[in-house]
């Protein structure tokens, strides 16, 4: 099959009816609910981008399995150029939808699995890599949207998975059958599975001997019985539900990032879809490989695409209020660019310095230190970018009335009059709402925690950095000699 068009994707999910709840109500159709529709819209846009000849280099790759053109979201990186195009895809998709592209975690999970299943087969004589490659070739051939689910509910963080009062706090196997396994637990903060065809499920972290029941990786179709999606619900959800006109919302078509808690209530997974089962030693490696790829993309490219939109909106806000030539405004805009582009530079460096891992696998993963630097830098920088957007956008970003008040028979004339500035009130209100969506929205905490909270990156950077080498360099310059030298 050729690459799916956006319309073909939409057709393919018309009859997908996963068990989705939003605000306590069951969603009957992904296309009819205003919130789930944003997930479908964003996912459809990613298909659309792959059809556009000007984005072909970024969005389309050649399958190393079938030799056919595939959506890069289903590609296993086989070179540093692949890694570079991967991070460029994260940038482009964020610039195009202004929210999660909903396939990023799935793509990075696929790359982690490609490397780790290969390694397990080499070390243990298993056939996980064969299974995985066949699944991937099938997904590529059908151009399936694959999301990813990693984070367990975790319960009491002081306790290991097997020590929890409620063992379901980490996804685990409850039954092993001749044709598959049955799993129970939950994955939280999952982006976009509701609009995907498949979800790649990985362990939530490194595991130890004795924790085999939690060592699981598999692919699951999203309508599988026993799977329930409890979607996030917040002020933006309520606003969208109440909206008469989506163009009054900050991101009309694609919305805020939509996540859900995926509950696995004794879900059956056939063996053909199981890619790790009980091999605790390989869970940490799998998650690390996923994370290093994801930190490059999430931190150094995805959020940079968001920053481009925020900077664009902030520039317009400055122009619409007539402050665009004031020096401190210009300085703040430059600061926003600095925060953003330094992160992108880290992503590019992570890709260019990428290497084959494990040796002989043919799978390329980004440089871990640069990937973590990209994520840690943007985690802090994004707040600064939001702060400057709120600063330059002005208090109106949060005190503005509803855009449709412009048409109100009684107050419309005043809204038009008092919200006009260097531009008509219509334009000012539209850009204020856009900046409200960002600066008072969900993306700040989302960027902080997405791809792991900053403490994780700090830990990784301290592990990956050769502190002794740095001290030695400094001593040599200063002429310090220790007694033992």
């Amino acid at each position: 099959m050729a690459l799916k068009t956006a319309q073909e994707y939409i057709e393919s999910v018309k009859k997908l009816t996963p068990k989705v709840f939003i605000g306590g109500k069951r969603v009957e159709s992904l296309l009819d609910d205003p919130t789930t529709l944003t997930v479908v819209n964003a996912t459809a846009k990613i298909y659309d981008l792959a059809q556009d000849p000007k984005h072909k280099e970024v969005m389309v790759a050649t399958s190393h399995l079938t030799g056919e053109p595939i959506n890069r979201n289903l590609n296993v990186a086989r070179s540093t150029n692949d890694l570079d195009m991967r991070q460029e895809m994260a940038l482009l998709t964020s610039q195009s939808v202004g929210t999660c592209n909903y396939r990023c975690v799935g793509c990075d999970a696929i790359n982690g699995l490609a490397a780790t299943t290969w390694e397990m087969d080499r070390d243990l004589g298993t056939d996980y890599n064969k299974r995985f490659n066949e699944f991937l070739a099938w997904a590529q051939t059908n151009d399936l949207a694959c999301s990813g689910a990693i984070t367990d509910a975790k319960g009491d963080r002081k306790k290991r998975p097997s020590q929890q009062d409620d063992i379901d706090m980490h996804l685990h196997v409850v039954d092993k059958k001749s044709d598959g396994i049955v799993v129970r637990g939950a994955k939280v903060s999952q982006s976009g599975a509701i609009g995907a065809h498949e979800t790649m499920v990985l362990p939530g972290g490194a595991l130890r001997e004795g924790e085999e029941d939690f060592a699981l990786a598999f692919a699951i179709p999203n309508g599988t019985p026993g799977l329930t999606y409890i979607c996030q619900y917040n002020a933006y959800t309520a606003e969208r539900e109440a909206a008469d006109n989506i163009w009054e919302l900050g991101n009309p078509l694609y919305g805020q990032r939509e996540t859900s808690t995926m509950v696995f209530d004794d879900v059956f997974v056939p063996w053909e879809r199981v890619f790790l089962f009980g091999e605790t030693k390989y869970c940490g490696r799998l998650v690390m490989r996923f994370a290093k790829t994801h930190r490059m993309n999430c931190g150094g490219a995805c959020k940079v695409g968001f920053a481009d939109l925020i900077i664009g909106g902030t520039l317009l806000a400055a122009e619409y209020t007539g402050v665009e030539k004031i020096s401190h405004i210009q300085e703040k805009i430059v600061d926003m660019i600095r925060f953003s582009e330094t992160s992108h530079a880290c992503a590019i460096a992570a890709a260019v310095r990428g290497r084959e891992e494990p040796k002989g696998s043919g799978v390329y993963l980004p440089d871990d230190l640069f990937g973590n630097a990209a994520k840690l830098n943007i985690a802090h920088g994004f707040w600064e970018i939001l702060k400057n957007a709120g600063d330059i956008g002005g208090g109106g970003v949060v005190t503005m009335p509803k855009e449709s008040d412009l048409d109100h028979p009684e107050i419309g004339k005043w809204v038009k009059k008092y919200f006009a500035s260097a531009a008509p009130a219509e334009k000012r209100l539209r850009v204020m709402k856009f900046l409200q969506h960002w600066s008072a929205g969900l993306h700040g905490p989302g960027t902080w925690h997405g791809a792991g909270a900053p403490q994780t990156q700090r830990f990784m950077m301290s592990v990956l950095t050769d502190f002794d080498a740095k001290k030695k360099m400094a001593k040599e310059i200063m002429g310090i000699k220790d007694e033992e030298e």
């Binding site: 997908l16 498949e198 179709p221 599988t224 019985p225 059956f268 053909e272 879809r273």
Partner: protein, 106 residues
């Protein structure tokens, strides 16, 4: 590793309603096992909202015999099965020889 998609062990499932073959679906390995598990263990048709719809289910080798409760016309049953197969990760196909059969009776 090169993979010819034709060589992958995909599963072709024929859906029969009222004794007539309606549609072939193709899914990745384990699709039939997943569908059978849904019907037998969970007592649900994947993606179908109606509860208690499965009156009886029987699995004989690669044949799944379903009896549905309620007064549904054939077109509605065909729609139920289309939803069930698509929610199990299978897609309608014209080609292929079916190795699995799902037969639905009212």
């Amino acid at each position: 590793v090169k993979i010819n998609i034709e060589d992958i062990d995909l599963e072709v499932i024929t859906v029969m309603v009222g004794g007539n073959p309606i549609q072939n679906y193709e899914g990745f390995g384990g699709t039939f096992a997943s569908l059978a598990d849904s019907c037998i263990r969970k007592k649900v048709l994947p993606g179908v909202f109606e509860e208690g719809i499965i009156a009886n289910v029987e699995l004989k080798n690669n044949n799944l015999l379903l009896s549905l409760s309620g007064e549904y016309v054939d077109d509605r049953i065909i729609d139920f099965m289309d939803i069930a197969l698509k929610n199990t990760g299978a897609f309608p196909v014209q080609k292929g020889t079916a190795s699995f059969l799902v037969e639905v009776k009212r």
